[in-house]
């Protein structure tokens, strides 16, 4: 009797598995991915740049300043602040902007770069620290996740390292 009941359960389960298989492309992928999408997850700030702190409007383009990103756990990451210039196709041929990164009303860095006409061409730029809070970068492109001036789609992404001594205080 037990064997019979177990067999019935097993075949019912197998039938259920077939139903699941048949519903994968129509229902299940969407349902499971919906769960993932609504789980409140976010991409690690090392890749995403973190949360937006404020936006500065310039003539024809805007500058998005992100919150400082600090390494978590044993993350091999130099602390940095991300700045995004967008849209890249509306930027002047040469950009040189003084930007307030920490929100104290005074500029912290001057970012300058020449926008290549070819969107796939390698971009290089300079970051000049105007105080001791940040680190200057010269002729930088994609040195690391904390030091970069790169074109990503229709944005120019700049990451400025935070002076470790200042960050540590």
């Amino acid at each position: 009797m037990r064997t019979r009941i177990l067999s019935i359960l097993a075949y019912t389960g197998a039938g259920f598995m077939l139903l699941i298989a048949a519903s994968v492309p129509f229902v299940l992928i969407g349902a499971f991915s919906g769960v993932v999408a609504h789980a409140g997850l976010h991409i690690d700030p090392m890749y995403s740049g973190g949360k937006i702190a404020r936006t500065v409007q310039r003539e024809g383009y805007r500058i998005v300043v992100y919150q400082p990103v600090q390494p978590q756990m044993l993350e091999r990451l130099e602390p940095f602040v991300q700045i995004v210039f967008e849209p890249a196709d509306r930027l002047p041929a040469h950009v040189s902007d003084e930007i307030d990164l920490d929100g104290d009303g005074r500029p912290d860095v001057r970012v300058s770069f020449t926008v290549p006409r070819d969107a796939n061409a390698k971009l290089r730029g300079d970051v000049t620290a105007l105080n001791g809070k940040f680190v200057s970068l010269t002729h930088v492109s994609d040195e690391s996740f904390s030091r970069m001036v790169v074109r990503a789609g229709n944005e120019i992404v700049v990451r400025v390292p935070i002076n470790k001594e200042v960050a540590g205080r």
Binding site: Y11, L18, A21, L28, F32, V36, L41, D44, R151
Partner: protein
């Protein structure tokens, strides 16, 4: 391609043509359903690719039904998937960005397609910090349709149905080494693999624990960044300093060693059996999966043909004596097909062993082949379309 068919004594369930066609009909209809959007596509290359895959998948399933053998026909699909996936993938990368390498700019813009191999590494940071340590996008975007949500959803749905059989019906990497393992006629290092099998099969678990813990500690997908052999034939972080140059060297060395040379020597899927942490992770789902391979002890003569034929060392003398496979069995069917006494059988958990094993095989294969057609078939069709697109006389 050398085949394991030399060890096949007699098909367990040879059928007539009519009955085989009837049993194949659901898969043929499913294939048509899956590729209907492709067939309505205006691109001729994609239509040809779609039709070829419908015929291919249906024909292979028919042969499984007709001959009663699983492994050799599944292997044809799987090797085709393994070798065509990189072609299609690399073609799309080159068309899109002109190189196989991922520049840092694409990582920060979330344009890296999510790979299921990274799944175990992201679990702890996602669970405890709600952080995904992968440079992709949570939701699909125009520039990255293979988002984390979609790929995790796909993997989870497949895993519910297939368990560890993911590794022999869905993994587009495993086919590469299965292809190399199929080439030689002679098995070398057989004694070594048999003698140290119990140790070798623990390595993926050790790598899994290492990768999961270190990834959670340093918040980087360690396997992707340092250990994935398949970076060599898909995409890899652009070489821009000494660290990324070493990473690239490691990818190449692991690919050549584990995916090409060792399978050629051992006729085993050495990367899958002795290295892959995702495979180890996937083994856990065999516990909840309904389908398995069992051994009818009344028929078994302990010839160990099944053990020799197993591509991932998922059998030991002790496990055969107990009538079971080990946890890392990926249900490829090699042992069942190689058994001359019909002692190795497909089994549905909860039912008596060796009673109606063909029914268990059919139930498993409908699910597995249906999903293989949907996932692997779509990849095959895309890759074929890419190849047709490159043909010089086109």
């Amino acid at each position: 391609m050398a085949s394991n068919s030399s060890t096949v004594a007699r098909p367990a369930a040879f059928r007539g043509v009519g009955r085989s066609i009837l049993l194949t009909l659901p898969i043929a209809l499913w294939s048509l359903l899956m590729f209907t959007p492709t067939l309505q596509h205006p691109g001729r290359d994609r239509i040809i690719g779609g039709i070829a895959v419908i015929v291919f998948m249906t024909a292979l399933f028919f042969l499984m039904m007709r001959t009663g053998e699983t492994y050799r026909w599944r292997r044809i699909f799987f090797v085709a998937l393994g070798f065509l996936f990189p072609i299609g993938f690399i073609a799309s990368l080159v068309a899109e960005r002109g190189t196989m390498s991922i520049p840092i700019s694409r990582m920060v813009s979330g344009d890296t397609p999510f790979c299921f191999m990274v799944t175990p590494s992201i679990i702890l940071p996602a669970a405890f910090a709600r952080t995904i340590i992968f440079p992709g996008a949570i939701m699909s975007t125009a520039t990255n349709p293979r988002s984390i949500a979609i790929m995790i959803g796909l993997w989870f749905a497949f895993t519910l149905v297939l368990g560890k059989a993911w590794c022999s019906y869905a993994c587009f990497f495993g086919g590469i080494e299965e292809g190399f393992a199929a080439l030689p006629k002679r098995r070398r290092l057989h004694k070594f693999v048999t003698k140290y099998g119990s140790v070798l099969r623990l390595i993926p678990w050790a790598i899994l624990v290492f990768v999961v813990l270190v990834s959670a500690a340093i918040l980087e997908p360690v396997y992707c960044m340092w250990l994935c052999p398949f970076k060599a034939v898909t995409e890899f972080p652009a070489v821009r300093n000494v660290e990324t140059a070493i990473q690239f060297g490691v990818f190449i060395a692991l690919f050549v060693g584990l995916v090409v040379v060792l399978p050629l020597l051992t006729k085993k899927r050495t990367q899958c059996g002795f290295f892959c942490p995702f495979g180890a992770f996937q083994s856990l789902f065999n516990k909840i999966n309904l389908f398995e391979i069992r051994f009818d002890r009344a028929k078994c003569v302990d010839c160990t043909l099944c053990q020799t034929s197993c591509p991932t060392v998922a059998l030991s003398k002790e496990s055969i004596r107990e009538g079971k496979t080990l946890l890392n069995c990926m249900k490829c069917g090699a042992c069942v097909d190689s058994c001359k006494k019909d002692a190795a059988v497909w089994h549905l958990k909860g039912t008596p062993v060796a009673v109606k094993p063909e029914r268990a095989r059919l139930l498993f294969l409908y699910g597995a082949w249906g999903l293989a057609t949907m996932f692997g078939g779509t990849i095959l069709a895309g890759s074929l379309a890419a190849i047709i697109g490159f043909l010089p006389w086109k």
